[in-house]
């Protein structure tokens, strides 16, 4: 096995049957892949490589781990990075709560005053929740009134109650529900400065949203390549589908959008690695790219029609696998709202 693709291609079918990448295989994967990368460009490159398998869940479970590793860097928890890099530790980020979404100002997970101080709460839709060794849990810190004062605690797998949200998420990146029931704070590790979790989460959400952009834009390219192949091979009324003007025009339209989004993505990746990113660019990328790849997947399902259904619904599964992209990094509607408000603000949007 000379490359990560060679290894992944040899194991992917088994992983799909199991619904996850087994621990031993993840450590082998870590031998081939630069985990806990410090540059988004590296993560984007690896996402592109993994999406060659056509499995966005695989790329997603890798990406979630990288997002969490980024958070460890931001909070100077570098001592954990070697174990993450070697594949010994897999990570999950627990922000979202039932009824609160990712609105940090409405978190209910909190520490009781004690003594002893106890952490309790309920998190849901946690990507990598079924496989993580460590969970980075956001909790309300003190009483800042309208200010979202947040703490981040690292909990071990044996400190939380995990429930697999069957059928939610992608094939190889399932989502989980977490219950945290009076875990002594002294037995957790707090990341960063007290009450300043918002700063770290805000920065890592920028990274996460850009990664959603990577996943969406790079996967869109893969889907378009597959669509081109399909349209060239499938014949209807004596001619390949690509010869029918409707399909060619639609394919051209989709390629145009993918190209524009790819350029925007390259710009965002470079800006984030240089520390010069604008939140409006990241939000816009995430909003448009996630919507586009879902629209594209649905379009492919439509084009595939009965033959896709007969062939096992490959593109129907793709539609299911990409839906979570609109949730990761904050639901799209929240980002749209902020973009609109910013555009309406007295000084207007940049550019």
């Amino acid at each position: 096995m000379s490359t990560v693709r060679d290894y992944v291609d040899s194991r992917l079918a088994d992983w799909r049957l199991e619904g996850q990448v087994p621990r031993a295989d993840w450590q082998r994967f870590a031998d081939l892949v630069p985990l806990a990368a410090d540059r988004l460009a590296v993560v984007d490159s690896m996402i592109t490589e993994l999406l060659g398998t056509r499995d966005i869940g695989l790329a997603g479970t890798y990406a979630i781990n990288e997002i969490c590793a980024r958070l460890l860097r931001l909070t100077n928890a570098d001592d954990l990075l070697p174990a993450v890099g070697s594949g010994q530790l897999r990570l999950a980020l627990a922000l979202t709560e039932p009824g609160a979404g990712s609105d940090l100002a409405r978190l209910q997970t909190a520490v009781s005053p004690g003594p002893p101080a106890m952490l309790s709460g309920h998190k849901t839709f946690i990507a990598n929740g079924t496989i993580a060794d460590l969970f980075i849990v956001a909790s309300r810190s003190g009483d800042g009134g309208s200010l979202p004062l947040i703490d981040l605690h690292v909990l071990r797998r044996d400190q939380v109650e995990i429930a697999d949200l069957h059928g939610v998420g992608a094939q190889l990146m399932r989502l989980a529900d977490l219950r945290i029931d009076e875990v002594p704070v002294a037995e957790t590790r707090r990341l960063g400065r007290p009450g300043r979790g918002f700063r770290y989460v805000n920065r890592v959400l920028t990274f996460e949203r850009a990664i959603v952009g990577c996943l969406a834009v790079r996967f869109a390219r893969v889907l378009l390549e597959d669509l081109g192949t399909y349209l060239s091979e499938r014949e209807v009324f004596g001619a390949p589908l690509i010869e029918h003007g409707f399909h060619r025009l639609r394919l051209g339209d989709w390629w145009a959008e993918q190209r524009v989004l790819a350029r925007a993505l390259d710009r965002v990746v470079a800006d984030i690695d240089a520390g010069t990113d604008l939140w409006q660019d990241v939000f816009a990328l995430k909003v448009r790219a996630s919507a586009f790849v879902i629209q594209l997947a649905m379009g492919l399902q439509h084009v595939g029609g009965a033959s896709d259904w007969i062939d096992g619904g490959r593109w129907a599964r793709v539609v299911d696998d990409v839906r979570w992209l609109t949730l990761a990094g904050g639901v799209v509607e929240v980002l749209q709202d902020r973009l609109a408000r910013d555009a309406l603000a007295p000084n207007g949007p940049p550019g």
Partner: protein
């Protein structure tokens, strides 16, 4: 120790950059930032961090409350306390 007016001038610059405060709006000690700019909890924290960066200070968590952050006079007093140390 920084003059209060100077601090408020710099807070105004931060508010323009972070909260979209209009060019023709000037902050005064009595200003509630929520009445002159679009503010939600996320933007409020971003504003706090921008203020810290602008003055090269770090607030203690115990000092931060919505009331202090949204009232320009109280926030400028807190900044003056930090800068004057």
């Amino acid at each position: 120790m920084a003059e209060r007016s100077e601090i408020i001038d710099r807070l105004t610059d931060v508010a323009r950059a972070e909260l979209g405060l209009a060019e023709d709006v000037e902050l005064t000690p009595d200003t509630d930032i929520r009445e002159v700019a679009w503010v939600d909890s996320v933007r409020l924290m971003t504003y706090v961090e921008a203020v810290e960066s602008a003055f090269a200070i770090e607030f203690d968590i115990e000092q931060l409350s919505g009331e202090v952050v949204t009232n320009v006079g109280k926030l400028s007093d807190l900044v003056a306390e930090k800068v004057g140390r």
